[in-house]
Each structure stands twice: as C-alpha cells, then as structure tokens.
Amino acid sequence: MKKKKGLSVLAPYLYIAPIAMILLTFVAGSLILAIYFSFTKYNIITPAQFNGLFNYQRLFRDSKLHLCIINTLKIAAIIVPFEIVSSTLFAILISSRKDTVLGKIAKAALFVPVLSSSAVIGTVWNTILNGGHPAVKAIFGVFGIDPTLLLGSSKTAFIAVAFIIVWKGMGYYMVITLASLTSISDTFYEAAKVDGATKWDCLTKITLPLLKPTIIMNIFLSTISAMQVFDMVYTMTGGGPSMSTTTLSMYAYQLTFKGNKAGYAMAVSNVLMLIVLIIVLFQQRFIKHENSEI
C-alpha cells in the first residue's frame, strides 16, 4: 500500500518530466545562454571572455541595428494588417460555403502555402517575379507594376517580401478563425433573421464581435511572427538591396556567422526577445480585458 502511494506521488512529475526537460534545455537553457553570452566577447570558435556591458553600449551606436529595427517594423506593419484582414475575410467566406466543393478546395488551397517550406516559396516567388513570363507581367501590369523590378528597389523590395509572407501565413490564421467561427451558435443568426437582420448586420453585429478574442490573438501571433522574419528575406533578397530588407533576425544571423560576433548577436537577439516579450505581456492583458468584457 505504501509502495502504491509513493508511485502515485511520483507519477505526475514523471509524466511532465520529458517535456519539462525539453523546455528547460532548449527554451530556458538557450535563453539563459543568450543572456550570458551577450555579456561576453564571443566568436563561437574561441572561449567567451566577459566584457561587461560593452555589447549593450554598442547597441546604441550601431546604425545598422537601427536600420534593421526600422526594416523589421516596416515589414511587420504590412504583414499584420493584411494577414489578419485577409484571413478573417477568407474564413468568413469559406465558413458560409463550408459544405460546398469550392469551399473545401479554397480552404485546402489557402492552407497549402503554410505547409510549404519558406526557402522553397522564396525561391519560387523569386523566379515568378524575375522570370519575365508574359502571363505574370500581364497580371501585375493590371496594377501598373513591372514584377521584374520589385525586388531590385529599396522602396519596393520590402513590400514585395511582406506580401509574399502574407500569402504564405494567411492560411494559418484563417484556420484558427474558422475554428472559432464553428463555435458561434446558429441560434444567434436565426434569432437575428427573425428580427429582420441583413447579412451585413449579421456580420458586423454577431460574427465580428464574437470573433474579437480570436482576432486579437491572431494579431499578436502575427506580430510576433512578423518580428522574427528571416528565411523568406534570406532567400528572396539576401537582405538587400543596400540592406533595405535586412531584419533583426537576419542581422543577428549575419553577426554570428559572417561577422564572428556571436556575443553581440546575442545582445541583438535579446533586444528582439524584449520586444516580443512586451508584445506577449500586452496581449495577455488585452485578451483578459476583452474576455471579461465579453
């Protein structure tokens, strides 16, 4: 009997031990290491040497870093609204036709880019834009755009990259919104119909208000992901032209593997982490507030 009691006490800890160990090692561990190395002069190859606040002081006089922060914010400013608006609209459209063949095909088609590798997508889009194919030129021509020039200008490269990220990521947020839509009871719409509500009324007075917590969560998830953009930029522009698409993550990567300044790169990464952390804390408070209102 005693033995059984001992096992019962131990069991919950053993159940969570594997995932706890993974989290501790790869999340908490790497976080602690990043903080530790940010106070050192470290090039990965030779042992780290403590250099106090040098890396953090450098953050303030590094004009490249400031440019990368602006680039990241500019890209995020395009990604987040377009990703959220388009995913919500597609989710509502698909939800209203969820049982039709077209609805099912649209749902699958919009989700396929989410499953594809960013490196492949970047390379494919690079070829589409630069290939000069008459059909592609004609489509972009409708908007007065020459696709072959998009990635070659500082003014348009980040916009082009941002929209391709929107195209890739939209399906993910759409699926989250779709799941949330299924939880809205039909009785709301039936009651509204009885009261003579139009489709627009149903959308603006029932669907969107009830989707609010999901939309807020999507906004924050999209913002966090946009702040960490790396692979798409890496394959499509390499951070150019003239650093106009170099993001914070990419700059940290370049510092580590091209500049052999892993210590400073960790300080840059910690800045990014701090920004993301503030967003997460803000999100939690906001969602709590919204939930209590609902």
């Binding site: 970047g122 000069g132 072959t148 593997f257 052999n260």
Partner: protein, 435 residues
C-alpha cells in the same frame, strides 16, 4: 494500473533517451602509436556530383599504404561556415578542412589552422603550382585544391560581329561595345539586347557574389585593392576604388533594367546565355565548352576575355585550400594526405570526372582546350583575395554600398567613404583587441 505503469515506463525511457542525448562525445584519441591503424577526418563542400564516392575511390591506395582510414564529411555550400562554427564550438574539428579565403582570418587568429611553412620543402613550391596562393597573414596556411577557375568576361561573338567589333581589351573598348550592343533589335521601341548582363540581387547567394563577379576585377584593374598592404585599413575608397565604381555605374544604361532584381547567376543564364547581351560574367570552368553546350544550347558562338586591362590586369580567381587543423593529432600524416590529394596521381584521375586546372607541374591539363589559356598565358591575370581581418563583414558592407550606388541612393564617393569608415572602425577594434 497496467496502463499507468506502461505510461510511467514510457516517460522514464524518454527521460533516459534525453539524458543519453546530453552526454558528451567519447574522448578524442591520443596520438596513435606507430603501426596502429589510424583515422583522419576531413570536412569539405561538394566539389562534384559525388565528391565522397570519387574521393574514396582514388584514396583507397593511400589509405592502404598508410594504414589510415579517411572519414569525409561533405557539407553543403549553403551551410558551410555555420557547420564549421558550430562544429568548432562543440569541440569537433576535423584533421583536414577545406577553407576559402574569407574563412581564414578568424581561424588563423584563433590558432586553429596549422602554419605549414616549416613542413613543406623547397621542391614542393616547384611541383605545386599554386602553393604560393596558400600564403596569407604571414604564413602558409593551406594547399590550394580548387583554383584556376576565375570569373572571366564572356562575350557573344555574333553580337560583336553584328556591330563590327572585336573582343575588348581595355575599359574604353568594353564601354564602347556595350553602348553599341544595347539596342532595340525587333523595332518595338523597347531595348531587347544589352551590352552587359549584370545581376546585383543577393537573394539565395551571398552579397559577395556581386564583388566576385563584377567589382574585384574593376578595382584591381584600376590599380586598387580591398585592404592596404599592412591590412590595417581598407583601400577601396581610394582613387582607384572611386574610378572603378564610377566606371561600373557608367555602364548601367547598358545593363538590363532589372539588373538590381536579378542574381548574378540569373543574369548570366537568362540574359547572356539566351543571346540577349554582348557580355556576361561567371566563374569559368575547365569544362565550360562542354557544360555551356549542354546548359545553354542557344549560346552558340561565344568566347571570353580573362581580364580587361586598365592600369593593370586583374580578376577574381579563388584559391580554396585544404588546411591542417591545429587540433589534429597527426599533422604530418594530414599534410601527406593533402599533398597526395592535390598531387598528380590523384588529380590526373579526379580531373577526368571533375575537370579543373592542373595543380602540379606533373599533371596534364585535361579540360576543354578553349579554357586552357586561363592557366597558361593568362595565369597572372587573376588572383585570390587578400585575406584580411573582419573580411566577410567588410565585404558584405562594401557590396551593400555598391547596391546603394547602383540604385541611385548614394553617390560613389559618399558611399565608398561611408563603407570604408565602417570597415576601418571594425579593423581598429580588431587590432585593439588582438595586438
């Protein structure tokens, strides 16, 4: 109860697996005693379609003779430097490593590469044709294995014939031909034939490709260089550097409109190789006559100029080397293996499957005859980079400023001075920490 026990057992085994994964590697073997079988490890990128298979076949005799197994790790080009950095950080270094110039300064100053100066003989310099190109930062740190394939200026003979021109020799010739070749050939009012097929987008490739293809050659031809001779400052913003970039900028009207969007390789394959430009630049290969016929069937009548001449000749030709790492327990054996690989017995056979320039005096040239002059009469027209501190950072920044100039965001002098100021700050910091 059974279910509970089973799940607990599963959790415990997962924990054990995780813990095992955290264990360190077995301790490195000490120097083996004479006569004992040994192992040498070698890291290299893919040099042909089956580098490991081709190398293994040709190394069998050497392995038997030396009672040594050569373990190779073929690392993709895309993650080559990352694999090195993370490997070294994890205490895992090979005996022999394939390295390119940009990698050397960090590894040399970290004491990870063996200086071979005292380990090679005078005769080696006579036999190994490019051994001097392994000399950098005051020592001999590598034996060239891939060299003799510089970036050269290809031209479309048909286009040159159609405008009554011959192969260019000087900058003036080149600019004149570019201007004459740039035109609307089908009369639709749009330019469809260009002088110079240039691509300045660095996506999927390093920014350095822009320098390798277009800038080093002009800089060197103008009499300039990246660093000053003592490597304490950069020199690319000097008179020669300004002249080189101004000349490059002056050629912009003869480049495709989307030169900023295209990568260098795409510009060559989709513009020059499609017969839409008089000139294109790419890395030469000893088998270009064969590979171009296969890859670019529309490019029938082509030839190349190894280097134009302005004040001097010059174009970029890498000299990637095999180096003995200082952590190797058997440096002499490692050097012996390197000499065997780069020597005539191995390379004569290897170059039959992967054509390249002969590396030794005893090796015969087995590539396309058309490309042979690169390693004979034009041998002094190309060279590798200076191996200087903070190389990748300085060069990436230099390339970004060239993009800014070509985009019209900055003028030549201001861009070069800004880039040089950034580079000199890095160098000042480097020398303050290392001297």
């Amino acid at each position: 109860m059974k279910k509970k026990l089973l799940s607990l057992l599963l959790c415990t085994s997962m924990l054990a697996t995780l813990a095992a994964g955290c264990g360190s590697k077995t301790k490195e073997a000490d120097k083996p005693k004479e006569g004992e079988p040994t192992t040498l490890t070698m890291w290299l990128p893919p040099l042909d379609e089956d580098t490991e298979g081709n190398f293994k076949k040709l190394l069998a005799g050497w392995e038997k003779e030396n009672n040594c197994t050569v373990e190779m790790e073929i690392i993709p080009w895309g993650s080559y430097e990352e694999r090195w950095s993370t490997g070294v950080a994890g205490g895992e270094t090979p005996d022999i490593g394939y390295m390119y110039v940009e990698m050397y300064p960090t590894y040399i100053s970290s004491g990870l590469v063996t200086d071979l100066s005292d380990m090679v003989e005078e005769e080696d310099y006579k036999e190994y044709l490019f051994l001097d190109r392994g000399e950098m930062m005051g020592g001999l740190y590598g034996v060239p294995i891939v060299t003799g394939v510089p970036f050269v200026l290809y031209y479309n003979q048909d286009i040159l014939d159609s405008i009554g021109e011959k192969a260019p020799e000087t900058w003036e010739d080149f600019a004149r031909i570019c201007e004459k070749a740039t035109k609307d050939t089908d009369g639709d009012g749009k330019i469809d034939q260009y002088g110079y097929a240039v691509g300045l987008n660095s996506g999927s490739m390093s920014n350095l490709y822009v320098l390798n293809s277009y800038m080093y050659s002009l800089l060197w031809q103008a009499g300039g260089d990246i660093y000053t001779d003592d490597l304490k400052e950069v020199a690319f913003n000097g008179k020669a550097g300004v002249e080189a970039l101004e000349f490059f900028k002056s050629l912009q009207p003869y480049m495709p409109e989307n030169a900023m969007s295209l990568s260098g390789q795409d510009a060559f394959s989709t513009v020059f190789a499609e017969g839409k430009a008089a000139f294109g630049v790419t890395r030469s290969s000893a088998s270009n006559e064969t590979t171009f016929a296969k890859d670019y069937p529309n490019l029938k009548n082509w030839d190349y100029v190894t280097s134009l001449k302005h004040k001097e000749y010059g174009t970029f030709g890498a000299a990637d080397c095999l180096s003995v790492m200082s952590t190797s327990k058997q440096p002499e054996l490692a050097l012996d293996l390197i000499k065997y690989i780069t020597g005539p017995e191995f390379m004569t056979e290897y170059h039959k499957v992967a054509p390249g320039a002969p590396l030794t005096a005893s090796e015969e040239y087995v590539g396309d005859p058309k490309m042979e002059r690169i390693v004979t009469e034009d041998r002094d027209k190309w060279r590798p980079l200076q191996a200087g501190p903070c190389g990748s950072e300085i060069l990436e920044n230099y390339a970004a400023h060239i993009q800014a100039v070509m985009e019209g965001k900055q003028d030549v002098k201001a861009a070069l001075d800004e880039s040089a100021s950034y580079a000199n700050d890095l160098l000042k910091e480097y020398y303050a920490e290392n001297e």
